[in-house]
């Protein structure tokens, strides 16, 4: 597992994470300039905050109250992961391919007390721009990494897993593991 603080290039602050029902989580985020220093700084702060949050594998800008199409992700060490792209930080990402839907339970740093069963594609491709260089990247992902990427993409559209749960009995109290 990544250690807290690894991957950040400075020792700036960890950002407070917005919790549902904060309306910031339900707004459509807007595109950003991937080369802008503010975008780079926000990306670094997102990674710092993700690293500092136990169990957190991804964080999107709306979760820290910024309506920007930017997220970071790192599923390293997760037991359900197959593909692993390392640390992924993308601005203005797009889902360009999605197949093999499957249903699984997921949680969210912004909904700390609940989990939900959500159908998502098990094999996807995502494109986006790397903050700083602005280089366009494409990631092919499957299994848990694909699910996590779709979860982060949803945040940019103001959607939580609660908006996608599969049925009345698909929302669960989060189990506290000993």
């Amino acid at each position: 597992m990544p250690t807290p603080g690894s991957g950040s290039r400075d020792s700036g602050d960890v950002l407070p994470v917005r919790l549902a029902p904060d309306p910031a989580l339900s707004r459509l985020a807007v595109e950003v300039d991937p080369r802008a220093p503010t975008t780079v700084a926000l990306a670094e702060a997102l990674v710092r905050t993700m690293r500092a949050s136990p169990g957190c594998v991804g964080l999107a800008a709306p979760q820290v109250g910024v309506p920007a199409r930017l997220f970071c992700l790192d599923v390293g060490g997760h037991r359900k992961a197959r593909s692993y792209a390392g640390l992924v930080v993308l601005a203005n990402p797009l889902l360009v391919a999605a197949e093999e839907p499957n249903r699984a339970r997921e949680g969210c740093l912004s909904v700390p007390d609940l989990t939900g069963d959500v159908v998502r594609a098990g094999r996807i491709k995502v494109t986006g721009a790397v903050p700083g260089t602005g280089e366009e990247r494409e990631y092919a992902a499957d299994a848990f990494e694909a699910r996590a990427l779709q979860h982060e993409l949803d945040h940019l559209d103001g959607l939580l897993f609660l908006d996608r749960v599969a049925g009345a009995h698909a929302v669960h109290a989060r189990k506290r593991y000993l």
Partner: protein, 172 residues
């Protein structure tokens, strides 16, 4: 065979299901459709049982266990009409937002106004976050499209987020 509707609710603890269902076996009641869950620390049981004995006799049989476990129990006779095959279009309504009184009442009234029948409904209160998930049968897909804008109006009035999507579909 006749049928009884039984409800029992009390503070959650181990052994409630065992104690109640052992009594039901002893009075020749056969568990059919049931739902049992913990609601904010209270264990709630809803059962339809096949049983030819009068409700009063079953309620009396359960009474000692109810007293011991501090359960509120009701038993009544119900019809044995077989369930109709679900017709129409099946949808899931999702609602979440800050808790306030009236969310379920308003949302379910809008659903009913469009001929929607609630087939399953669960709510969760987590801190100040209220989550309502409803499975509904609608007369048609057209009814769903008519429901959608009115659901949005109700959600805006309640300051919550509401969605409507087909059940059993791959929502991707």
């Amino acid at each position: 065979m006749g049928a009884l509707a039984i409800t029992a609710i009390g503070d959650d603890r181990p052994g409630i299901v065992a104690a109640v269902t052992e009594v039901l076996v002893a009075v020749d009641a056969n568990l059919e459709d049931t739902s049992m869950t913990i609601l904010r620390g209270h264990f709630a049981m809803m059962l339809i049982v096949g049983c030819d004995r009068p409700a009063a006799e079953v309620e009396a049989a359960v009474a000692p266990v109810a007293a011991e476990l501090d359960l509120v129990v009701s038993v009544r006779e119900v019809s044995t009409v077989p369930p109709a095959a679900a017709a129409g279009a099946h949808y899931v309504v999702t609602v979440h937002g800050a808790d306030r009184p009236g969310i379920v009442a308003r949302i379910s009234r809008v659903i009913a106004a469009h001929g929607g029948n609630v087939t399953d409904l669960v709510t969760r209160l987590a801190g100040n976050l209220y989550v309502l998930t409803v499975e509904i049968d609608l007369p048609s897909a057209q009814a769903a499209e008519a429901l959608r804008p009115e659901l949005a109006v109700a959600a805006a009035d309640l300051d919550v987020v509401a969605g409507l999507h087909p059940a059993d579909a791959d929502v991707l």
